[in-house]
């Protein structure tokens, strides 16, 4: 998911051409207080005009506890992105409040209830402790993300290359997402020139089980796709597993073996995920070219 500052017309216009799976227009931290009104208008009119194709479009609004959040929601629900990202989510009530507001606006403008999805960014110790409650607070919620910069400030520490300060938070958010059946998204890596450090972090969060990574520069897209993409061998093996399970189901056989190894439900699920990831990465490459 590529972050795009909400008050830069050129970046907003070109955001989808680089091939990220999702773009997130930011009305929050990347917009100065005196430009909040301008960014809201700009993102609203851009979303009404520009066709972003298959790229998922998300808008990060200001929190409802700020003077800007209410107006952001009023405009953005009408602009109809795929999802609205709630910043600094600390309690399930934060999500429920946003859900109720979106429902009220959807009803007011005759939009089908549930059209606008929600994502919640957790950026504090309290938010991490409440992660499962947050992840299950609304049917609109499609993902939960960690925002590391605010989180480490709240923890009274700073980010390290190893990321030890984020380990518990990442795990907790991942568990909450999996238990709730929604996506888990990792935080940004701000030093765009440190490609090796970025790749190391992507490997780590992929191995932990995250569904994706937030990024701040198009240069980071290819690294994420490359590291998240299954190898050819993994794809071949997964295709054989799915074919084998298909044949077994046709024959009415419950348990099968492939190359002398028993294939059970978790293996089939992993094979399906490999093929889904492979499709997603291939689609992104097609869009970017």
């Amino acid at each position: 998911m590529l972050y795009v500052p909400g008050n830069h017309p050129g970046m907003i216009r070109d955001a989808h051409i680089y091939g990220s799976d999702a773009i997130m227009f930011d009305l929050e931290d990347s917009v100065s207080i005196k430009e909040k009104d301008a960014a809201r208008q700009l993102v609203y009119h851009s979303l009404k005009t520009i066709d972003y194709g298959c790229t998922e479009v998300v808008v990060r609004v200001n929190g409802l506890n700020t003077p800007y959040g209410g107006a952001d929601f009023e405009a953005m629900v009408r602009a109809k992105p795929d999802a609205i990202r709630l910043p600094k989510t600390e309690t399930p009530e934060d999500v429920k409040e946003a859900d109720a507001l979106i429902s009220r606006i959807e009803e007011q403008i005759g939009m089908v209830q549930g059209t606008i999805k929600l994502m919640a960014a957790v950026e504090s110790a309290l938010g991490v402790i409440n992660a499962y409650g947050i992840a299950t607070a609304s049917k609109r919620l499609i993902g939960i993300a960690i925002g590391a910069e605010d989180f480490v400030t709240d923890l009274k520490t700073s980010r390290s290359a190893e990321g030890i300060e984020l380990l518990t938070a990442r795990s907790q958010i991942l568990f909450a997402a999996r238990a709730a059946g929604i996506d888990a998204l990792d935080t940004v890596f701000s030093d765009v020139n440190d490609e090796e450090g970025f790749a190391r972090e992507v490997r780590l969060i992929k191995q932990m089980g995250f569904d994706g990574k937030s990024i701040v520069n198009p240069r980071q897209i290819e690294i994420v796709h490359k590291l998240f993409a299954p190898s050819e061998e993994e794809v071949r093996k997964s295709v054989r597993i799915i074919e084998a399970i298909g044949e077994a189901e046709e024959k009415g056989s419950g348990v099968i073996s492939l190359d002398g190894r028993m294939i059970d439900k978790p293996i089939v699920e992993r094979a399906r995920r490999v093929l889904e990831l492979n499709d997603a990465v291939k689609n992104s490459y097609i869009l970017a070219r």
């Binding site: 009104d37 700009l42 009408r78």
Partner: protein, 97 residues
């Protein structure tokens, strides 16, 4: 809607437009436009500004715009922000489509 105070929005960055509006009582809509693409798109930029002002019911205003290749949606957004700032209205009724 009457414009009695000045309002400004936008930047001089590429793909953006700076729009400055001020009172022009009794003199209609006057647009002073500078653009990097004036020959190709000058008429279109003026048209978007005129159309947006008409939708807002603004009949008398001086608009000074410096365009750096903005899309129509950017021109519209910056003009609405400038008007909003000049009139101290917090937001406009969002169009419903």
């Amino acid at each position: 809607m009457k414009i009695h105070q000045a309002g400004i929005a936008g930047t001089l960055e590429s793909s953006d437009i700076t729009i400055h509006i001020e009172e022009n009582e009794g003199k209609g809509i006057e647009i002073q436009l500078k653009s990097t693409v004036l020959n190709q798109f000058g008429n279109q930029i003026r048209h978007v500004i005129q159309e947006t002002l008409q939708e807002l019911g603004i009949t008398d205003v001086l608009v000074r715009a410096t365009d750096k290749g903005a899309l129509d949606c950017t021109i519209r957004a910056r003009l609405l922000t400038a008007v909003s700032r000049a009139t101290h209205s917090s937001c406009f009724p969002w169009e419903v489509k």
